[in-house]
Symmetry: C2
Subunit: 272 residues, 2 copies
């Protein structure tokens, strides 16, 4: 029998407690921030834990988060509402608030991805990103300054060719490839995938594009399958920085070569 | 002075009337369907008209629609709720119902894309789809059977190389390229772009993939800019049909070569 270590760091940081009437209490943990603002993907996982509890479904299938104001460490409430309960999926909305201030509005569909038959891949026009093994990639060590504290809460190992954002020059494609896993061997569940989809530095930081911080307007994640144990391969790409906006597309593949999640986010590009 | 022809066909079909308390009445017009089910993008435009009225903003910036049940011709109500009114954007939700049955749940952010400075393209890693001029593409004439009635409500002109879905063989890439415009010279506004993003046959129909109809679970549209007058160029691509799901990505470019909208949708692939 394995000793009970209690919930992992991520499970604890994203946990919620029901407080009645579809409302849940959670805590934005200190240290899960980028320059004082809680990481968006992390906020999305708190809301998603509440939505899974409210719908009684084990997995997020599609989750759309609209970011309304920065999240800071401290208590939050998540008010959920079931929009439609179907046979296979339940659709529900959530509003995450801090001290009465709306932080994140979410709409999503939830189901059971364990019920999916494995192996029925009818079209796979792509593949996992080309990545050296984890120990040949560069583990991001968080400091109080750069990279941000959030990146120390999870294990990000970045392709040595994709470090222009940190070491310069920023003249590559707007792409970041890397391995994601939770710390201390905590398994990556489908909620943790939502965290992974927003965990890396913005891909645009590797390109010769004059941007400062790029606040997310909206992020939609699609989860295709539960990942096999072990680190997952992630790739983030930005193709268009136009009219004050950029999109960032992400794909996550598990160690068995299965596409487990995709996302696209729309972010603002403040005028330089 | 130009004579007043009244609203165009699309504006009329997507129109809503306020009925108080943030609720609107609209009508799913007959003929805007695919095999008896109203086109999803068209339903999204009805909800979006209500959300623009509720927020007082002229343009959708990001709109996420979750499709709950098929829409049929007839009256619908759209109940809107403003989630957060900001300086630049307003975020709001909507529930479109028919006879008390939830059809479409929407969350979106709305703003003024006319206030965007033109020309500030910092990164454009792509371009408009390669398309012959409209009169060298194939105009889809709707019939009562195939293609579906919806496709006669708008003008779709498809690349001659991308007609495998109709003429066979279905052995090409899962891609469809074509021109979109509204009928009778009605201008394509940013709401019409949402219609265009779901107006073409599914891209997967051009590939050697055994699929029947592919109901949309979720579609998120990002509008970057108001299109210049004239038809817009559209491209739809599916890369992954796995685990019972597929994604379809779309891009729309206007006649001046500006990226005006992107979308991704998640759809179900019923077991063959």
């Amino acid at each position: 029998m394995e000793p009970d270590h209690g919930p992992g760091r991520f499970a604890a940081a994203s946990a919620v407690t029901p407080t009645g009437d579809g409302t849940f209490a959670g805590t934005v943990q200190p240290g899960w921030d980028i320059g004082g603002h809680a990481n968006g993907g992390y906020l999305l996982t708190i809301a998603t834990r509440a939505l899974l509890a409210a719908t009684g479904r084990p997995d997020p299938v599609s989750v759309s988060g609209y970011f309304l104001s920065p999240g800071q460490a401290g208590p939050v409430t998540v008010a959920t509402r079931v929009v439609k309960q179907g046979r296979r999926f339940t659709t529900a909305s959530a509003l995450l608030e801090a001290e009465g201030r709306p932080v994140l509005s979410v709409l999503g569909t939830f189901g059971d991805l364990g019920a999916t038959a494995a192996g029925d891949s009818l079209l796979v026009d792509g593949g996992p990103p080309d990545l050296p093994p984890p120990d040949e990639c560069v583990l991001i060590h968080a400091t109080d300054t750069f990279p941000p504290p959030f990146m120390g809460q999870v294990e990000l190992r970045i392709h040595p060719d994709d470090l222009g954002f940190a070491t310069g020059p920023r003249r590559g494609p707007a792409r970041i490839r890397g391995w994601f896993q939770l710390r201390d061997g905590e398994p990556t569940d489908t909620v943790a995938l939502l965290c992974a989809l927003d965990a890396f530095p913005p891909a645009v930081f590797n390109a010769d594009v004059p941007t400062g911080w790029v606040p997310t307007v909206e992020l939609t994640a699609h989860v295709r399958a539960r990942p096999a144990p072990g680190p997952v391969r992630c790739v983030f790409t930005t193709r268009y920085v136009t009219a004050g906006f950029l999109e960032e597309d992400a794909e996550i593949w598990d160690g068995e070569g299965t596409l487990v999640a995709q996302s696209r986010q729309l972010a603002l590009v403040p005028r330089a």
